[in-house]
């Protein structure tokens, strides 16, 4: 039985569509992916470390001119922060005494799983980490850095690997509530109250805040943290600082662009919050 060229093309296209549909619908694609992740992870880890070293090398060359200025600014900031640490230490001691008095044990703030980044999705804001369901990770768990900076949430779990959807991913379901603190990144405090807003990713490591009431003046450098209304994220995790505010007469709310605190090029390790 011989088919004409047109029929042959139709049969091939139909077969290919059938194969891909069965791959996606049966979940077999997950096994195919995991198979490749398993034997590629050592090579990926080496590439990731090499990329980190090479980018650091070039960054140090390009930034050499700004080093003195940056050093001066950091020294000033360091002094300011030292003053704050002393103040906070006093508050901590006071807090400890109060906790003891109330017999509250909050030592175990989070239960964490330590992980490393081994890859990044090409077009979208996803990263691949080397821990999976075998380590107790499941979908929607928050991912943070050692400095308690929010990175994203687990979106796909394999046995030994997981995909993390960064907070900057443009998925509609990825939006979460945040609080704009009345503290500037420089350490100064503002006379305004903290307010809530909706954080929404735009892709390419960009995060915007929406639904900010117009009557509250937002300044560049104000700190953004997760709010209790965030749902899957615990409150108080650092998100970023306000970079640019946009106000329009026709819009009922103002919007702001956030400069997120994490940079995947700078992160060595991540933590998945399994219990919080």
């Amino acid at each position: 039985m011989r088919f004409s060229i047109g029929k042959r093309i139709i049969i091939i296209v139909a077969l290919v569509i059938l194969i891909f549909l069965s791959l996606n619908l049966t979940g077999f694609s997950k096994e195919v992916r995991e198979f490749f992740y398993n034997f590629s992870s050592p090579i990926q880890r080496n590439f990731w470390q090499a990329g980190n070293k090479v980018s650091n090398f070039f960054e140090s060359i390009f930034n050499a001119q700004n080093l003195n200025k940056e050093n001066y600014e950091l020294k000033n900031k360091n002094q300011e922060l030292l003053g704050k640490i002393v103040l906070l230490q006093e508050l901590k001691d006071e807090n400890k005494t109060l906790r003891q008095a109330l017999e509250i044990n909050l030592q175990k703030e989070f239960k964490l799983v330590f992980s490393e980044i081994i890859g990044k999705d090409i077009g979208e804001d996803f990263i691949l980490i080397n821990k999976g369901s075998a380590d107790g990770i499941s979908e929607k768990m928050p991912v943070i850095t050692s400095e308690k900076v929010l990175v994203g949430k687990i979106s796909q779990v394999y046995n030994n690997f997981s995909k993390v959807m960064l907070i900057s991913h443009k998925d509609e379901e990825n939006s979460f509530y945040v609080k704009i603190q009345s503290i500037l990144n420089s350490g100064q405090e503002k006379d305004e109250i903290s307010i809530k807003a909706k954080g929404k990713g735009k892709g390419g490591y960009k995060l915007f805040l929406e639904m900010i009431p117009k009557d509250r003046e937002i300044l560049e450098g104000e700190i953004v943290v997760t709010d209790i209304l965030s749902g899957i994220f615990p409150k108080g995790l650092l998100v970023g600082e306000i970079r640019k505010v946009e106000k329009s007469d026709i819009e009922p709310f103002q919007t702001a662009e956030v400069s997120i605190f994490f940079d995947i090029k700078e992160i060595d390790h991540l933590f998945v919050l399994t219990e919080y």
Partner: protein, 103 residues
């Protein structure tokens, strides 16, 4: 033909790992150059339009990118094969450029 395909499988596999684990450090505004796509375009541009290696390259490149992508499996293959078919169509119909085989 088979040797060429095997060679291309290894090349695209290594290039995909390089793209997903090395290239994220060299982004511009969150975007990185897709080296895999660049290679597929180059192969299809400089191949004789009647040959099939360009299409195989597109399929393999798409397959490996699908493995490391978060989209449903097959999307990248579809995009890459369409790009290859489009290049071949344009070259065959409208353009005459020297190819590796002819030179």
């Amino acid at each position: 033909m088979l040797k060429k395909i095997l060679f291309l499988i290894i090349v695209f596999y290594i290039l995909t790992l390089f793209q997903t684990s090395f290239m994220p450090f060299f982004d511009i505004n969150g975007l990185t150059i897709n080296l895999v796509l660049v290679l597929v375009i180059l192969i299809n541009l400089f191949e004789v339009p009647e040959k099939k290696i360009g299409l195989w390259s597109a399929f393999m490149a798409g397959f490996f990118l699908d493995v490391w992508s978060s989209m449903p499996f097959g999307i990248e293959i579809l995009i890459f094969v369409l790009v290859a078919v489009f290049i071949k169509f344009i070259l065959k119909k409208y353009v005459q450029i020297p190819t590796f085989e002819k030179v």
